[in-house]
């Protein structure tokens, strides 16, 4: 295998595919922190040139964490769809990029080869893609899933209502959730990050959200994003209604250990959810990820954060989830420094998740110590909508009063929908029409009026 390139007489050589993957990445402060990024813009392009010639078969043989050392690598290798893999194994990464971009290559075709792709292949190809490339390919891949409603259909754009509260006040949570619903948000999930990680607290919030949903006959799902072991207790021992089960995932065995989970634990959680979950469709899991989470627990295994992120998606696809989103700007400027890095990562993550067959959403967000402006964040929401992102978050003025960061708002979701001519999931759309919150694709007479909800 050739691992060298020459640009304007300057010669670059690389020691391994893993090193090439790191050096080929778009600039990210987290890759600088990990010491895996390109040392100059020219070296970055040289690495991309080398990467473009590597075949998918060669990538499969060289996962960034060895098979012997890591259960995620083993799971990917042992469950890869060989027929789908054989269709594309001979392509180089550069050729894969071109095949994905061809207008003759349709979403269903990409969806069909997706089970034959490893996360390293998907991470590699996005390193050769510009932001607009990522949007074009992302928009092509439609991943449709079903719980109490049907998410990811063409022309649809959904949102999670995220009514977090710093002390888990149920009344405070419900006030915020009702407001979000009145703005047409919440068709992806009514999902609360609890301040207290106990089964009792999880159950109390789940019961309250369930009551809100059933009283008003809203075709959506509910979820409390406590640790998966806490949710398992709430479901199995307290018997409370749970439409979706949540967990944060990492792309390495060591990273997942830092999250207090493993493949075996997630298998158990999924089996329990399939048996006891209260959602009405085949898809019942919800996962969150984000570039840099492995490095933050020193579990990146010397690999770059885009490749580690893709490995999270390979983990997620094992459980046919209803929702997966990257929490792109949450982790802080030491991983994604500013607006351009956060926006780029959001588009990369969306495209990678879609290529691996996930119904990708995005928490487009920043913390207040990152260099991103509100205007940049608003632009990102429109880019994600145009790229076919399945859903965004939503909360009052985008301000999470519990987690202290800036995300998308109850006002942003209908604004992006109107700009792009998109509508919520069909079942939820029908409910919005019935209540008068929406009138066709325009705000209806009860838009923004919480009096419409009981």
């Amino acid at each position: 295998m050739r691992l060298s390139a020459r640009i304007r007489g300057e010669h670059f050589t690389f020691r391994s595919v893993k090193e090439v993957l790191g050096r080929a990445n778009a600039p990210k402060s987290g890759d600088d922190l990990a010491g895996v990024s390109a040392r100059s813009p020219v070296e970055r392009v040289a690495a991309r040139a080398v990467l473009a010639d590597i075949t998918l078969e060669q990538l499969r043989m060289r996962p960034v964490v060895p098979y012997e050392d890591d259960e995620i690598t083993r799971m990917v290798e042992d469950t890869l769809d060989e027929a789908a893999y054989k269709a594309v194994a001979h392509l180089s990464v550069g050729q894969l990029r071109e095949w994905l971009l061809e207008t003759t290559t349709t979403g269903p075709m990409i969806r069909s080869i997706s089970p034959g792709l490893t996360p390293e292949m998907v991470a590699a190809v996005v390193k050769l893609m510009s932001n607009l490339d990522l949007m074009v390919v992302g928009a092509k891949c439609q991943v449709v899933v079903r719980a109490n409603n049907t998410l990811g259909l063409p022309g649809r754009f959904s949102s999670r209502v995220q009514p977090n509260h710093p002390t888990d006040s149920v009344q405070g949570i419900l006030l915020s959730a009702r407001e979000g619903l009145a703005y047409g948000c919440g068709d992806a999930v009514l999902g609360v990050n609890p301040a207290t990680d106990t089964p009792e607290s999880t159950a109390e919030i789940l019961e309250a959200l369930h009551a809100l949903r059933t009283t008003n006959r809203i075709p959506t799902q509910h979820c409390v994003l406590s640790h998966v072991t806490v949710q398992m207790k709430a479901l199995a021992e307290l018997g409370c209604p749970m439409d979706l089960m949540f967990q944060s995932l990492a792309g390495s065995e060591s990273g997942n250990r830092a999250f207090g989970i493993s493949l075996a634990l997630m298998d158990e959680a999924y089996a329990l959810m399939r048996e006891r979950g209260t959602g009405a469709g085949p898809n019942c899991m919800y996962f969150e990820t984000g570039q840099g989470s492995e490095l933050s627990s020193d579990a990146h295994e010397g690999a770059d954060q885009v490749t580690m992120e893709a490995r999270c998606y390979a983990f997620a696809r094992r459980y046919a989830p209803f929702l997966v989103n990257t929490v792109v700007g949450f982790i802080g400027p030491e991983y994604l420094e500013d607006g351009p890095q956060i926006s780029r990562a959001a588009l990369e993550d969306h495209c990678m998740g879609k290529l691996l067959g996930l119904p990708m959403g995005c928490d487009a967000c920043f913390t207040y110590h990152a260099s991103m402006s509100q205007d940049e964040l608003e632009s990102l929401k429109v880019m994600l909508g145009a790229a076919g992102c399945a859903y965004l978050m939503s909360m009052p003025v985008g301000d999470d009063i519990m987690l202290n960061y800036q995300s998308t708002s109850y006002h942003d979701v209908p604004s992006v929908r109107m700009l792009l001519g998109k509508r919520p999931t069909p079942e939820f759309d029908a409910w919005l029409q019935e209540t008068g919150i929406m009138d066709g694709d325009m705000p209806g007479p009860r838009f923004g009026d919480v009096g419409v909800l009981r």
């Binding site: 002390t167 006002h411 705000p443």
Partner: protein, 303 residues
């Protein structure tokens, strides 16, 4: 002429050839929009009034089309500006000495590096190591208090000195010996480990600015660790957050933190293994809602 040319010509005839801009339509005097003001005591909507009893989330703020009213935009921008200003503020040179504190620094050289290199913010620079070795810095104390900027120098300069003094006094009142008053710049929480180890303190207590939230740049957190030394992890520490005049005031936080330090010394441990019975307000995990104040007031007269 080709078929396509004919079609284009026909299309032009259909579209017309005059100025394509539509004629201006007569607009009556635009009526004043209904007042939609960021909830203040005088002019909040009924819903916002009820909501404020349960949450500080900005609900009941109404809308203009699908967007925010102007007053909401200004309140939001003011809150964002306050947070960004707090993050961007650097502790001025000489500030520590002016307060009568001993100034230290991590290995970070500037603000950007501070944000991007948490590893350097956890290590002392050489000058600071030498300064701590001098004779006027007592060694082998029970508690070593450290004021620090963390992610908000504004908070550090706000109620930092007040908290440092009240905490030190509360420790002495409990019969504990207290180290020299230190102030560290470009400091992450874990910098308490090399500092505490350098002076041989039983407990190191770092009081530092929290990552600002919307409209709040003045919160301090306190992290305490028994047997400070590099290699300690988050699980070895206990903390208290939201220390400022609208949250837990410094005068209230200080005795609780001194109780915490005393408990660590009595039990010979800290972190998840520490028995917290009898120590109030620490590591509850719950941050009380911030009081949300209208930030924008306007005045002046253009007439």
């Amino acid at each position: 002429m080709s078929r396509t040319r004919e079609l284009i010509a026909a299309l032009r005839r259909d579209l017309g050839e005059a100025d394509p801009a539509p004629p201006a339509i007569h607009v009556e005097r635009v009526p004043d929009p209904p007042v939609r003001v960021f909830p203040s005591r005088r002019e909040r909507s009924r819903l916002a009034g009820e909501a404020s009893a349960h949450t500080t989330a900005l609900v009941g703020i109404g809308r203009v089309g699908t967007r925010y009213a102007t007053s909401v935009v200004l309140q939001f921008q003011a809150e964002l500006a306050v947070a960004h200003a707090a993050v961007g503020q650097v502790l001025p040179d000489g500030w520590a000495e002016e307060q009568g504190l001993i100034g230290l620094s991590s290995q970070v050289r500037d603000h950007r590096e501070f944000l991007l290199r948490p590893d350097l913010g956890r290590r002392l620079d050489e000058a600071s190591v030498a300064r701590l070795a001098e004779d006027d810095v007592p060694k082998g104390v029970d508690v070593q208090p450290i004021l620090a900027d963390g992610l908000s120098a504004v908070a550090c300069m706000g109620s930092g000195v007040e908290l440092l003094e009240a905490f030190s006094e509360a420790c002495r009142a409990r019969g504990l010996t207290v180290g020299a008053p230190l102030c560290a710049r470009f400091a992450r929480v874990w910098l308490q480990d090399p500092i505490g180890a350098a002076v041989g303190a039983k407990v190191a207590a770092i009081l530092l600015g929290e990552r600002p939230g919307l409209g709040t740049g003045d919160g301090l957190s306190a992290y305490l660790v028994f047997d400070p030394k590099p290699g300690n992890t988050d699980g070895d520490r206990n903390m208290m957050s939201n220390i400022h005049h609208r949250g837990t005031p410094p005068a209230e936080a200080a005795p609780r933190l001194a109780d915490l330090a005393a408990a660590m010394i009595a039990q010979g441990r800290s972190g998840v293994d520490l028995d917290l019975s009898g120590v109030a307000g620490v590591e509850s995990g719950l941050r009380p809602p911030q009081v949300r104040l209208p930030l924008v007031e306007t005045g002046g007269d253009l007439s």
